[in-house]
Subunit: 246 residues, 4 copies
């Protein structure tokens, strides 16, 4: 979208705890969920990919890292409360300034997503390995390029409505589950100059980030959400503009 | 919502062909789908209810009838193309002027709904008597007052995404079907001063308009969509307003 | 909108500092901005009105008060940072649970408004006593009942775009100022089951809360935002629903 | 946005009557408004530009031309009613199928824009050569890349609210006029797979399509609206999907 040919700088953030504590998770993601996603993105044209995790200094999201990120991908689950105020505020400011944010699965309850939404982001859930079908509700949107009218995940954790989010600006996917529930699984919002995409798939005990359609959607979303050149905004006290001040 | 105590004037419009041609439909709706809905509404406080059908003069929607209608309910299926230009334009103008419109089920393909949406309003469908679950996605909205977090219709025609509508302003219900499809079953838009609600339930071969939750939603929607007092708008050539013209 | 005839319980919250410190403000609002608004609302049919201010215990917004409030009106300016975390969270939860919130003028920078929006809510401003014209962009909406296509405030503080808010769900008013700026002066959002209305007019050094159209809009907004009966939502772990669990 | 390097195929459509009848217009646009816009676009990287006008066969919008257009730009004013049903339907279908549409100025009253919006698209107007200021309300959006927080058109026809359109999905610009009116001057919607942008500037008697910021916005909008690869959608009768049909 930018005339520039500069690559998109993606940072994949992962809580990275389940993989260390639970051998079943480690079997699926031996070096972490972030690596599964990052490796795929790094193989795509025009992307440079960094990694960051909770237990690094400043959760790996120092000022420099955030400043040099065009799109941040966020996966967290069991330790949302351990993310510091400082990092939440830094990421929040970066989104308002134009950085894209892709929030995955259990990241719905992360501090940063809730801060951006202004709601609780609560939902229903059930771990029963149920079949999920994701239906495209916005054909033609860049996030679904290369995706057919639906795709199937054989075994998934169920998330059900009511999902307590603000009305999405664009509804991209709705899921149905074998148990009969539905969920708004792909939604976009803008916050300041930044674009936010929530994408549901991805429980740690299923190999969902090896699913080609899931990876394709994430790749598309990175391109869609990437920070773009934008005029600096002026806020606060403002003298009359030129034509009138005379 | 209006301080006025005047009753809401509802007109229930029905194509009224299936009931005359198909004994199975007539068994469910002996005097027509419109009568099943109208009788229920007439039993509610503060509503006066009229009926109109395709084969009446001007489809029962003369200038006088439309002028005196606060909410129009629309059910059609096999004869959308028989609705005259004149009546479509009259209803369209009335909606822009503030009349509410509730479009039911196969009315998605009606000329008036498509004219208001600006899209094809196409969808997938299958008549297989499947179980449908309608999930509330907008708790607290007046249309779902008295409705739990979901309700079930035991046998229904399936409608599936992609439903080719403009992004709804409010998403009220999403359905899942036994066959795995999902559908945006309750959606609102405004067009001019008028409010539009699309509500999916209602195939002619199932007794869906005898279902208490379906009737409750329609009743709530009538109250929500009712025409309200509104200043007359001025369009076209416009002299400078007072403070500036001097 | 509710079939119930119960009155709407409004609480008008005011920071109430300017009036005590600045004689020019006290001359316009001798007993506080909250009293000017509350007295008007108390004269309207079907409303019971309470008052609360910053320097009361818990800012006057105890659990009991919030629990018994259907619509909260919020005016603050110089002491946003003195509002406690506890009260911000309590009001936030109440809005998600269905309480209406009307945020006035400089309340754009309040902690509660920013928490609900997820953005900075920054804007441009200039205190130059400029003429403001508010144009109706949503005729037929209940908030503009009784309002012509525009109204004028002779002397106002300027607020200018960019106003850093999420895209409004409904745009009700846009202002122009003598200096050439524009502003989205009346906007609505839903957050959970609650309705939020931001309304720009109201600087403390101008008698704007004595302006009949401003008071009318606030009155209409109270009726529009009032908490409505709503089914209790269930979140968290969720067994399969009845029809499927068998 | 597409990984493809194929150029964007733009067609600039112009009614092209004023320029032939009114020497004052011809002095500004000697070979037509369409040529002023098309020449600018043709000078941009990655665009191939065609022209089409009302008085050509099929208004220059034959099946082949529309089929090979990624973005259509539309300017009309005095002869909207002369555009044939056939061409309006062809363009409508193309938009639903993913073609972008940019509607300029008096094109607000064109048949194609009204068909896509579902409303009257009426507004107030006044030809008084007034100064217009366009304020950016969506910083960071690709359409305003390279645009400061506002730009000024020295002499313009006034358009004023209420502009009878559906609530925009994205509000990009709001204008103020010297006479005190405001107008939603840059708005986006999606219809089917297609993106629609309405952009207000452009009266035939002012050299507005020579203004660098106006041309830049149109150029940005072409890139934003360009048709993207999209899966073919299936509508109508639909058997159960594979996993369930067994």
């Amino acid at each position: 979208m930018s005339p520039s040919d500069a690559p998109i700088r993606v940072t994949v953030w992962n809580e990275f705890r389940h993989e260390k504590k639970n051998p079943a998770v480690a079997a699926i993601y031996p070096d972490g969920i972030h690596q599964a996603i990052a490796r795929h993105l790094a193989s795509q044209e025009g992307m440079v990919v960094g990694r960051a995790t909770l237990d690094e200094r400043q959760h790996g999201l120092t000022e420099d890292v955030v400043e040099e990120t065009d799109v941040l991908i966020w996966w967290g689950h069991m330790a949302h409360h351990e993310v510091s105020d400082e990092v939440v505020c830094r990421v929040h400011d970066a989104v308002l300034g134009g950085m894209g944010l892709i929030v995955l699965h259990s990241g719905h309850a992360s501090r940063i997503f809730r801060a951006l939404m202004g709601t609780s982001c609560d939902l229903k859930w059930r771990e029963a390995g149920e079949r999920e079908i994701l239906w495209v509700t916005k054909p033609g949107h860049p996030i679904v390029e290369g995706i057919d009218d639906h795709f199937i995940i054989e075994r998934a954790e169920m998330y059900g409505e009511h999902f307590n989010i603000p009305e999405p600006e664009e509804m991209i996917f709705i899921s149905s589950f074998a148990g009969g529930e539905v969920f708004r699984s792909g939604c976009t919002w803008t916050r300041g100059a930044g674009r936010v995409f929530y994408f549901r798939p991805g429980h740690e005990t299923y190999p969902i980030y090896h699913h080609p359609d899931v990876l394709r959607v994430i790749t598309n979303a990175v391109r869609w959400a990437a920070k773009r050149p934008s005029a600096q905004q002026t806020y606060g006290h403002c003298p009359k503009i030129g034509w009138f001040a005379t």
